[in-house]
């Protein structure tokens, strides 16, 4: 039952990553990311509750759940939204590779990650294998998303999605890493996010656009 739920939720996360690839507007990127983070939060809640039932003691993953809800579901998307509003508003094609082609490539990536992880001999548990496939696919998709989008918001979202995928992998394969590691990762992410948010403004004010293709001019 527990594993079925986790399977479902992590597949949903993968699907949300696919829908992110299919999105065309910046606002929908952010909404999709919020949805994905909520799924991650659900998974962490599930893991922590299960652990608390089994051990009858407080589980640290619950803290992570709260942090994810506060930051990834509420604060970061809100901040991103305001950033997206304050920089340029022109609607234009934001991707290099068209959507159907991207979907096919992403399917290929999922197959690749399945193939790679399936061949690892050390993992005997089938569930763990599946979780790893989903989360690793999310990471690859996030990277692909970063490559395929032109505007800086796309890169930030892609980065955050990669992070979500890694969180998922860590949580599901280890049933919660040590608290200090999780916290470290989290604050790393937060700092990176803040820096990138500032850079979006800087890029916007310098190039009057957040199309990072224009950064080519900076080459010495």
């Amino acid at each position: 039952m527990y594993h079925n739920m986790l399977n479902l939720l992590s597949i949903l996360m993968l699907i949300s990553a696919f829908s992110l690839i299919a999105n065309k507007r910046q606002n929908s990127y952010i909404s999709t990311f919020r949805f994905q983070s909520a799924l991650l939060a659900g998974i962490s809640l599930l893991v922590s509750v299960r652990a608390m039932i089994v051990t009858k003691a407080f589980d640290e993953v619950l803290i992570m759940f709260m942090l994810i809800v506060v930051f990834k579901v509420v604060v970061i998307p809100r901040y991103m939204k305001s950033t997206a509003e304050r920089v340029e508003y022109k609607v234009e094609k934001d991707f290099f590779i068209n959507i159907p082609m991207s979907m096919i490539i992403c399917c290929g990536l999922v197959v690749l990650s399945w193939y790679v992880i399936y061949n690892i001999d050390g993992i005997t548990d089938l569930d763990t294998k599946n979780y790893l496939i989903y989360s690793f696919s999310v990471v690859l998709l996030g990277l692909f998303f970063m490559i395929s989008r032109k505007k800086a918001i796309g890169q930030i979202i892609g980065f955050l999605v990669i992070e979500n995928g890694m969180f998922l992998a860590a949580m599901l394969t280890t049933e919660g890493m040590p608290m200090i590691v999780e916290l470290g990762l989290f604050f790393d992410l937060l700092t990176a996010f803040i820096i990138m948010g500032i850079f979006v403004f800087k890029i916007n004010s310098t190039f009057e656009s957040i199309d990072i293709n224009k950064l080519k001019n900076l080459k010495g």
Binding site: L140, L143, M146, I147, Q155, L215, K216
Partner: protein, 688 residues
């Protein structure tokens, strides 16, 4: 008991250098205090170091100062060991740095309130400290770390006047070349460590190194240490770095830092590679000879800058040392222990002597720059009347480097020649003609070198100290301050003492020789009868520098007496030189440095490709001109034909890759990540 004192004094030495660095930095806002502190500490540390290593070299032959700082870094042990070889090079470091520290007390006044003297003091102390630790480290990785540190610190000292473009350029060439050299040294060390499974420098099981790899290691070492030593063709950084560095730094770099490459070579040759092929020696000998001849040819013919002249002559001296090293390797390969000991003595002695007289000359050049503000010989002249003491000390340096007895240059160059001539004698019975011919050519080349050295220093001294002043700066020159004179005086005195008391100097080397090749250089300790005869057991070929000195003194007295006697009978009339009926003699009519060296440029025209041109600036044509410039240009043949093609190829390659790989687009960079990740995954899944 006293051995423990040595360890303690070594540690105290390190602490003194560190204190000097820190106190100089702490008081940087008061340049006078800062300069004083940095120099007093390096002076104290240098004297302590010098005294303790002399005690070690003379009285504690078999005791090695060792200490170990425990740490948990794998392979890298902070393991120091001062054996006799290290002690000898520490002696050079200590003596030269203490003299140069005295010199710096006033020399650094040039930079007061213009530059940050505190930083200079800190870098200076740390630079000397890095060299002291380098010569005593017993771990290859530690050696490399300190070697890098030394290069980096010296780079910062070279670019101390970094606001000048030529200084920047010199520094850039220096650091690129020195890192190229370090790459070779690193490769050699890693090869040694790979085969012997140990990073210790002294306790390697050298029989584990396969023969072919030993050859490779030696070639790498020659390239790596040769770059630091400034051997042609790896010398291109040297003339510029020494010229642009402040005088005291140039003195230390030339006298000590370069010598540490000799230390590295000797250390590896004797402790890691106990057997060698004949061709190692032949290669080293050829490289050394080429450096000696071409280095001094450059020094004579293409310089008007005093410091550059000295730098090129440094190349020549390193060439002579490498010649000695070549003979040493040949002797070791052919099993002649007499020749081996002779060549080793030549190497060590010339290392010491070059450190002494080259630091003296660089200090002299620094003093000239300090007083007149120029290093260009064509703007000097007549300085002997303005600064008689400084002139006398520089003259001693010139005599020493030109191998005129009784100064120290004579002693060591004589032994180099002895080793080469004895090699010929040794190889004649076995009829190995190629090598005999090689030695004959080398001897001839070294003889040419000797002549050109004299030529070069006649030019240096004659143009800048004699004649009439060629510029107002030279006209208004005055004697430099006392500390500078004192430092030069000590150096000059040491040059003379080391020349006359040859046997005492060899006594210092004796224990190094026992340690390296197990041969005692002096059969017995002290006897007045053959005062300073060397080499022993070589019959009439041995020479006594003491007797020569005595002879010179007697001759000088006789000449003086004759002059005085003649002078009584004649009257002296002072009058101007006859000016052929022209109106006035001007300083421009004097022999110029360029003109003086023309004959050498003609002889070596293949090397210089001299080109002269008369550019008329006023008037019509060359026959009716009112004003014109005579332009002489020489080509840097080695740079042009060896380095330029390589540099161009590298630049071309990087330009192409820049357009193809380094596009500037973030998406492409992300794409690289992505592709690398996917490829790794594919590789992993297929390989597993």
């Amino acid at each position: 008991m006293s051995a423990d004192y040595l360890t303690i004094s070594f540690i105290v030495c390190i602490i003194l250098y560190l204190t000097g660095a820190i106190s100089a930095l702490a008081t940087y806002s008061k340049p006078k205090v800062s300069n004083f502190l940095s120099n007093i500490f390096s002076f104290l540390a240098g004297s302590l170091l010098g005294i303790s290593v002399i005690i070690k070299l003379l009285f504690l032959k078999s005791y090695n100062i060792t200490f170990d700082f425990q740490n948990n870094i794998p392979f890298l042990n902070f393991n120091f060991k001062i054996d006799n070889l290290s002690a000898f090079f520490l002696l050079i470091t200590g003596v030269v740095s203490l003299i140069v520290s005295i010199y710096s007390f006033t020399y650094m006044k040039r930079f007061f309130f213009k530059k940050n003297v505190g930083i200079f003091g800190a870098l200076y102390n740390l630079f000397i400290l890095s060299m002291v630790l380098l010569a005593s480290s017993n771990n290859m990785l530690l050696f490399l770390v300190l070697w890098e540190l030394m290069s980096l610190l010296s780079y910062f000292l070279v670019i101390y006047e970094h606001e000048k473009d030529e200084v920047q350029k010199a520094g850039r060439t220096y650091i690129i070349m020195t890192y190229t050299g370090t790459a070779f040294i690193t490769a050699a060390f890693l090869l040694m460590a790979y085969f012997t499974k140990s990073f210790e420098l002294s306790a390697l099981s050298s029989e584990l190194i396969p023969k072919g790899y030993a050859d490779l290691i030696y070639v790498f070492l020659l390239l790596g240490f040769g770059t630091k030593a400034g051997i042609i063709p790896m010398h291109i950084w040297l003339p510029y770095a020494y010229t642009e560095a402040p005088g005291n730094v140039a003195a230390i770099m030339s006298a000590v830092m370069k010598k540490l490459s000799i230390y590295g070579m000797l250390r590896i040759i004797y402790f890691v590679l106990p057997e060698n092929a004949m061709w190692w020696g032949v290669l080293t000998l050829i490289i050394g000879t080429v450096s000696a001849v071409f280095g001094i040819a450059y020094s004579v013919a293409s310089t008007i800058n005093i410091k550059r002249l000295l730098s090129y002559s440094s190349i020549e001296n390193m060439g002579i040392i490498f010649c000695g090293m070549g003979v040493m390797l040949i002797a070791r390969a052919s099993g002649n222990s007499f020749l081996l000991s002779l060549a080793l003595t030549a190497v060590l002695l010339h290392t010491l002597n070059h450190a002494l007289f080259k630091s003296l000359l660089f200090m002299g050049a620094g003093a000239i720059q300090y007083i007149t503000g120029t290093r260009n010989m064509e703007k000097l002249g007549g300085l002997i009347k303005k600064m008689p003491y400084a002139a006398a000390f520089v003259f001693v340096g010139c005599l020493a480097i030109a191998a005129v007895p009784p100064f120290n240059g004579f002693a060591s160059e004589y032994i180099v020649f002895q080793s080469i001539i004895n090699s010929i004698v040794w190889f004649v019975p076995s009829r190995q003609f190629p090598i005999i011919i090689l030695f004959v050519i080398v001897a001839a080349c070294l003889a040419i070198t000797g002549a050109l050295v004299a030529f070069s220093y006649v030019k240096l001294f004659g143009i800048s100290f004699l004649g009439m002043p060629r510029s107002p700066e030279a006209e208004n020159a005055k004697e430099p301050e006392k500390p500078m004179l004192a430092a030069m005086a000590i150096s000059a005195l040491l040059c003379m003492v080391a020349g006359i008391c040859l046997k005492s100097v060899i006594k210092l080397i004796d224990n190094v020789s026992v340690e390296l090749i197990n041969i005692k250089l002096l059969a017995y300790d002290w006897s007045l009868s053959d005062f300073m005869h060397y080499p022993l057991g070589n019959g009439e070929l041995s020479v006594s520098t003491g007797q020569i000195a005595g002879l010179i003194a007697v001759l000088a007295l006789i000449v003086l007496a004759v002059v005085l006697m003649l002078r009584k009978r004649t009257t002296v009339q002072k009058y101007n030189t006859w000016d052929c009926g022209f109106t006035k003699l001007t300083p421009k009519m004097q022999y110029s440095a360029i003109g003086f060296s023309k004959s050498v440029r003609i002889v070596f025209r293949g090397l210089f490709k001299p080109n002269r041109d008369l550019v008329v600036t006023e008037g019509s044509g060359p026959y009716f001109m009112k004003k014109g410039n005579y332009v002489l240009s020489t080509e840097k043949v080695i740079e042009k034909y060896l380095y330029k093609p390589v540099i161009l190829a590298i630049l071309n390659f990087s330009r192409k890759t820049r357009y193809k790989i380094q596009t500037g687009s973030i998406h492409v960079y992300l794409m690289y990540f992505f592709c690398a990740l996917v490829l790794m995954l594919l590789y992993y899944s297929f390989a597993a």
